[in-house]
């Protein structure tokens, strides 16, 4: 279980303190599928980075299975069992897809082992394993490889920062199946930051973040109508976007 206790993150902007995450309290239960949603600038990605250790909390605590991890490094948290998928996947010169998945798995996976993870995210594995994780791959391909690298870690909790960002609607239709499969397995806790109704639809819990605060949270059934009502008329949340 991941617990956020009075978590606050602020930055200095023009000599003024700007609060991004404001005294946030929340518990992410084991093996639950949690979707964090909310308007742009509400602090969703910052919250994901605070969990992964990429940003350090200004105050408050993060507890993982009761252990205080607030001051742990990115590496320590990763080793403890927190996975994190970037919103903008990172590119590398000279690191191949197979190398990245192997690094993620933490062992010298067999070629077929690597292929399994790539197939899981809908990539025809043999075409990809020996390609560099660089600009020669499309945005959608990089996104799938990023997700495969998190799957290969088999962590008890994985945070995905806007998996739909930067990819076209057609690619996303396929990608959503990856998350639907994860949901079916229920083997670990999944936290997804998303605006997509189809992602919201498979959530156990939905958390609505506005201005760095939790506006409301609860089960999907309770939250879905509220979230969609809140943004009536906003094209990003169109009820007919499927």
């Amino acid at each position: 279980m991941l617990e956020l206790r009075d978590l606050t993150f602020s930055v200095q902007e023009n000599n003024k303190e700007k609060v991004i995450i404001n005294h946030l309290n929340y518990k992410i239960e084991n093996n639950k599928f949690t979707v964090i949603t909310g308007p742009n600038g509400s602090g969703k990605s910052t919250l994901a980075k605070l969990i992964a250790g990429i940003e350090k909390a200004t105050s408050g605590q993060i507890l993982y299975d009761g252990q205080d991890i607030t001051n742990m490094s990115i590496t320590e948290r990763a080793k403890l069992g927190i996975g994190y998928a970037f919103q903008q996947p990172v590119r590398f010169k000279g690191i191949k897809v197979i190398d990245l998945v192997r690094l993620a798995a933490g062992e010298k996976l067999s070629v077929s082992g690597v292929c399994e993870y790539l197939s899981e995210v809908g990539l025809c594995a043999r075409d990809y394993i020996n390609r560099d994780v660089d600009a020669s791959l499309s945005g959608g391909e990089l996104k799938r490889i990023e997700i495969a690298s998190v799957l290969a870690r088999k962590t008890p909790i994985s945070v995905f920062d806007e998996p739909e960002a930067g990819i076209d609607l057609w690619s996303f239709q396929n990608l959503i199946k990856v998350f639907e499969n994860m949901k079916l397995k229920q083997e670990s806790s999944i936290v997804i930051i998303s605006h997509q109704e189809r992602i919201l639809n498979i959530a156990d819990e939905i958390l609505l973040l506005v201005n760095g605060e939790i506006k409301s949270y609860g089960s999907k059934d309770k939250m879905l109508s509220e979230v969609l009502q809140d943004v009536e008329g906003c094209c990003f949340y169109s009820r007919n976007n499927n």
């Binding site: 490094s73 990115i74 590496t75 990172v90 000279g94 690094l103």
Partner: protein, 305 residues
Amino acid sequence: MNEIEKTLLEQVANLHEVPSGAYNIRANGTSAGRNTTANIDIITKKDKQGIDIIIKPNTKNESVHIPVIISQSGLEEAVYNDFYVGENSDVVIVAGCGIHNAGDKLSKHDGIHTFHIGKNAKVKYVEKHYGSGDGNGQRIMNPETIVEIEDGGYLEMETVQIKGIDSTKRCTRACLSDNAKIVITEKIMTHGSQFAETSFNVDMNGKNSSANVISRSVAKDNSKQIFLSKINGNNSCSGHSECDAIIMDNAVISAIPEIKANHLDAALIHEAAIGKIAGEQLIKLMTLGLTEQEAEEQIINGFLK
């Protein structure tokens, strides 16, 4: 051959034992072994240090290994090796130099390699430089490569200098005839207070000739690197040079690419980039459970692979 010399040989030529095919092993200034084949002859020069390697026309799928190793502190040598590659040949040439200096005197190897590549011949040339030993004596290598490629010939040159060379000045000059092609890939890593300068000068004189010079380097600690490349398009031709460098610590890197078109149909491109390791690359690998140092090693290894 002792263990140190065997290690050097393995590092510069990937040799664990005597290679198959033609070879000439030079150890501490003298010949430590030679083999010739029906198609490849190796002859000792009479007027200066070095050898002539003569490859008959139409020689296919053969290789020549000519590694040089120095384990004697204070040895300084200049060696001239001339390659004559016959028409329509297709061969692999592996050179390379390893210096182990455990003493206080300077050890230095200057290798001057001249390639005469015949019509439609295809050559892959691999050259690795490596230094070891914890003496105060410097390990210095100044390789010079002079290439002439006749009509339709092709040279793929791969040079690697990853470790242990205190000072190097590499100079490569090439002249290309009609339809000739050269591809040069260079990989360099310097550390400590090492210095490496590489300079490429390619004259594309022939119609439809092409040149591609690709350099990837990493400079650590207080080391210094200079990359110079000059590609001259003197006919209808295409040329490309690319220098991509990672800078670390207090290192200094200069990249000075120059392209010159002396013909209307010369198409030339140069690219040069120097920068430190991107923070997000380190973060990505750290989210996979690597420490910052492990992440850095993976990024550099990949970059120089």
